[in-house]
């Protein structure tokens, strides 16, 4: 058995050649930016020289590190924001896991009604920008502290919300969890779908309680997916800026990303990038934990040569109450914010909610300087610039999803099947690093790296290709994580059998590894796809007039308070992403009835 198994890897097999190739490419796209960023933290930049006595621009210095970690104000500058960041990142990741995992289990493993609707709706919170939920929270729960109109909750109940509930760490944690739970829903859903129901049935026969089954069988089997989800959400939480700034400012609670943004805006990149380095280190620590816990276990093969369909857990009398609860949840976190966006796009004068203020002007109107906000812009659907930017976004999203999807399978395969070798480890860790780099820093570094020809690489400045490369590198972890957990679940005996009948590597991939796990790969592609449609800070330095994207072009409306346009674009993206998801699930046969794409 062992010899046959290892025969697959001996010699210059395709996956070996591929692995070496990936390693070289990743080294350039990951290690070089990382090194460049680290170097910045030791350099004196133009506006930094005034605070470092006797220094010249370009000098090497320890001053940024000293200021951050050891100075008199280190607690205020660094440690306190760090503590807040950790509280938020851990808190919201766990909450997101709980929500996403529960929903995934309900949809995949129970006889819950209306699964299709729930499965499709559950990805929407991640498509919408996270500020929509933060804004919704404020609209609902704000109190007198930040003035303006009354919060809806207070208006209805007459009870003023306390500051700690209206602003600060608690709402930040909750709104981020509501934004990121789709990660867990998709990844854990994919893992659950592949659990052989016979395992559960046997346990039941042996008299195990439902809770015991969940704890002893289901939980361990989906553990890799759970850790992947935690890793992905936690790392995102470290760098997130908009929501914490918006909800934390009123009670003056700040996070590490404030330090990054404040110092970049203050033109002290040395100090700013130091915050980014800390975020990366924290991410690497979690990655390391993930390896320690998951990497040492091998018992996750759930797809064996034997065919088995998952049986569904009957919810019995709880079926409808649970469905009502889930629908209520979806209504609250998806439908209501979406409706608020819709309403804002059809109000001629913002904030005045009456029927005679209803208009389609911002959707289909002519350019006018006298109607409504007097923007002088044609309505969204007739605005050729907006439409072409939307086209660019969708094109980028599709290309990146396809490339990351393919790479995810290949890299995932290499990592799993070469387990124990340094190549596997290096690939696994390197492919995850760009995800840990705050996008505002990554964008700037890629701009510098690709502006001029370097060696065999031509200048990619201003090209669509550069956008594709940057997004692919940045979102590869989603696909790789999906690829790894998918291939880990497939027992080697399937491949061994194929090898015995003389199937080539390519045939094995095409006929076995891809088809049996296609829904997991699909969700591995879905996340990059969605992420691209809403990416801004990573790409803002790289787009040109010809490659404007939906997010970058709407900036020009945001700063003038022309929210009907910004919100309209968000809505269009939601509609396009959701419908293309449904469509491609149909086409790929990862239909929701079978469990939900993953």
């Amino acid at each position: 058995m062992r010899t046959l198994y290892s025969r697959i890897y001996l010699g210059l097999t395709p996956q070996r050649v591929l692995s070496i190739l990936f390693l070289i490419v990743l080294a350039y796209l990951v290690i070089v930016p990382l090194f460049l960023m680290l170097r910045e933290t030791f350099v004196v930049h133009p506006l930094e020289r005034f605070q470092i006595p006797g220094s010249q621009v370009g000098d090497l210095t320890w001053a940024h590190w000293q200021r951050n970690f050891f100075s008199e104000n280190a607690y205020a500058f660094f440690y306190r924001p760090l503590l807040n960041t950790l509280k938020i990142a851990i808190g919201f990741s766990l909450l997101a896991l709980l929500i996403g995992g529960t929903l995934a289990w309900l949809v995949v493993r129970t006889d819950l009604p209306m699964k299709g609707l729930i499965a499709n709706a559950a990805i929407i919170p991640y498509i919408m920008p996270s500020w929509t939920l933060a804004l919704a929270w404020i609209t609902l729960f704000k109190n007198q502290r930040i003035g303006g109109d009354q919060g809806i909750f207070t208006a209805l109940t007459g009870v003023a919300t306390p500051d700690w509930f209206a602003y600060g760490l608690i709402p930040i944690t909750i709104t981020l969890a509501l934004h990121y739970f789709p990660f867990g829903f998709m990844l854990i859903g994919g893992a659950l779908r592949n659990i052989d129901a016979q395992l559960e049935e046997s346990a039941e026969l042996l008299g195990a309680s439902r809770f015991t089954i969940l704890r002893r069988i289901v939980a361990p089997l989906v553990l890799p997916a759970i850790f992947s989800t935690f890793l992905l959400t936690f790392s995102r939480g470290l760098g997130t800026f908009g929501t914490p700034a918006f909800l934390g400012g009123p009670v003056r609670e700040f996070v590490l990303s404030t330090s990054l943004y404040a110092n970049l805006i203050g033109q002290r990149p040395g100090i700013g990038y130091l915050a980014a380095v800390v975020m990366i280190v924290l991410g690497v620590l979690v990655l390391y934990m993930d390896h320690k816990i998951i990497g040492t276990r091998r018992s996750f093969v759930t797809i064996s040569g034997k065919g088995a369909r998952a049986g569904l857990v009957a919810l019995g009398q709880w079926r409808w109450p649970v469905a009502a609860l889930v629908l209520g949840f979806i209504l609250a976190v998806i439908v209501v914010p979406l409706c608020a966006l819709v309403i804002d796009t059809v109000m001629l004068r913002p904030g005045i909610y009456s029927w005679d203020n209803f208009t389609l002007h911002y959707w289909i109107g002519d350019a006018s300087l006298t109607v409504g906000l007097g923007t002088g812009e044609p309505g969204i659907l007739r605005n050729s610039q907006l439409m072409s930017a939307l086209g660019n976004t969708m094109m980028l999203a599709v290309v990146v999803a396809l490339i990351t999807g393919i790479l995810g399978v290949l890299v995932g395969y290499a990592i799993v099947r070469m387990r124990g070798t340094w190549v596997s480890q290096a690939l696994d860790q390197m492919s995850f690093l760009p995800y840990l780099m705050p996008s505002i820093a990554l964008g700037a570094i890629f701009l510098a790296m690709f502006a001029v020809p370097r060696g065999p690489i031509p200048s990619l400045h201003g090209t669509f290709t550069l956008l594709v490369i940057v997004c692919t590198v940045s979102y590869l972890p989603y696909a790789v994580k999906a690829g790894v957990s998918a291939i880990r679940q497939v027992g080697p005996e399937l491949e061994e059998a194929a090898v015995m009948v003389g199937a080539s590597w390519w045939t094995r991939m095409r006929r076995i590894l891809i088809p049996v796990q296609k829904s997991t790969y699909f969700s591995g592609m879905l996340l990059p796809f969605i992420s691209v449609t809403r990416e801004l800070s990573l790409l803002i330095l790289l787009v040109t007039p010809a490659t404007q994207l939906a997010t970058t072009i709407t900036l020009r409306y945001t700063d003038r308070g022309w929210y009907p346009y910004t919100n309209g674009m968000v809505l269009l993206l939601v509609v396009i992403v959701v419908s293309s998801t449904i469509l491609s699930r149909r086409l790929m046969g990862t239909s929701i009835a079978k469990g939900l794409g993953g």
Partner: protein
């Protein structure tokens, strides 16, 4: 950045002074060449922090047939991008419309990547101090209050009022940490500490007792310790201050006055303070600069000329709080002319701001958390 860039910067500065010294007669002769050259150059690329540049560009193109592409970028993004591209020898952008001149000057002008240019209209009409760097317009930021609560009189007498018990937890400001211009403006409070301290004594009849090094930093500390509310958007601040029907409305500090454009539209009850001592807020320039290696320098020069005319400035002229240095510009209804604001508001000193804004930011970050 080594000695070479320094030399380049000095050369650029020398060149600019030389250009200015040649006088306007030489200018008039050159201009025909500029126009002729512009027609042949074709599409111009502009990075801009203000979205209205796109509107001005449309008008300009319609008139001259010269196409202009405008990429809208945030302050920091624009400086970062222009700097990185120029440093890498990518010279796509011809011209920038940029804020936070303190940072932009350090990274873009002193490095020699971008140069100043004074087109004919500006040369003829603008005050000398608005020519180098060439100013597209000024923005001002004000203190504001709710007129339902204070129907008769402006409640704000001194900036130090904001540090008193009465204003505890009632003053909003856009986060200084993420607003480069706020950082610049507060360096002026450090530079003019004596005036600020005098204003304290005038208001309370006793000298200011300080634990910080000067009155400017002392203000930052006391302001934050008085439970200031930190926001992320000026729009939200204006709405919060001005929403009708509030028992205890907040006050706004340093929000852009141009948001008052929406006052009638949203029925806001907000007014800017016009008596607060020693400064009504601050004003700062939006600066125009030409790439030193522009591929379409003449087209860029023509666009700069256009932006200095009343017609070119029109997209900015439809709200209060934005002022052309062109003295023929009529203030927006209810607003005062630029000269009035210059008399009643502080701006900032470029060199002092560059040297001290790190200190301001650090003091802010030190006290920003409760």
């Amino acid at each position: 950045m080594g000695i070479k860039t320094r030399i380049r910067a000095w050369l650029a500065a020398g060149l600019t002074i030389g250009l200015l010294a040649t006088g306007s007669s030489a200018f008039a002769e050159d201009w025909a060449q500029v126009e002729a050259g512009a027609k042949e150059e074709g599409a111009l690329l502009v990075y801009s922090t203000t979205s209205r540049t796109a509107k001005a560009a449309e008008n300009f193109s319609a008139q001259t047939g010269i196409a202009v592409e405008v990429v809208r970028l945030g302050e920091q993004d624009l400086i970062q991008r222009a700097y990185q591209e120029a440093a890498s020898g990518v010279n796509d952008v011809d011209m920038i419309v940029v804020e936070d001149w303190v940072a932009a000057r350090e990274l873009l002008s002193n490095t020699g990547y971008f140069v100043n240019y004074v087109p004919p209209t500006a040369e003829k009409l603008f005050a000398e101090r608005h020519k180098n760097p060439l100013v597209l317009g000024f923005i001002n930021r004000v203190f504001g209050y709710n007129t339902d609560k204070h129907p008769d009189a402006d409640p704000l007498v001194s900036v130090w009022d904001l540090t008193t018990e009465e204003y505890k937890g009632r003053v909003m400001i856009r986060d200084v940490a993420i607003t480069g211009e706020h950082q610049n403006a507060l360096t002026e409070w450090v530079r003019r500490s004596d005036e600020l301290a005098a204003a304290y004594e005038k208001r309370f009849g006793k000298p200011l007792e300080m634990t910080e090094a000067n009155a400017g930093l002392e203000f930052i500390k006391r302001f934050l310790q008085n439970d200031a509310i930190i926001m992320t958007s000026d729009t939200k601040i204006t709405e919060a201050v001005g929403a009708p029907g509030q028992d205890n409305p907040p006050y706004g500090m340093f929000y852009v006055y141009s948001k008052h454009r929406d006052v009638p539209l949203q029925d806001l009850r907000v007014k800017e303070s016009r008596q607060i001592d020693p400064t009504l807020g601050y004003y700062y320039p939006i600066v125009l600069q030409l790439s030193a290696n522009a591929k379409h320098p003449n087209a860029a020069k023509m666009f700069m000329e256009y932006l200095g005319t009343l017609e070119g400035f029109a997209p900015w002229g439809d709200s209060p709080g934005v002022y052309s240095p062109n003295p023929n510009q009529v203030p927006f209804e209810g607003d005062m002319p630029l000269a009035w604001w210059e008399d009643h508001m502080w701006s900032y000193d470029l060199d002092f701001a560059a040297a001290n804004r790190g200190l301001v930011l650090d003091t802010w970050l030190k006290y920003a958390q409760r």
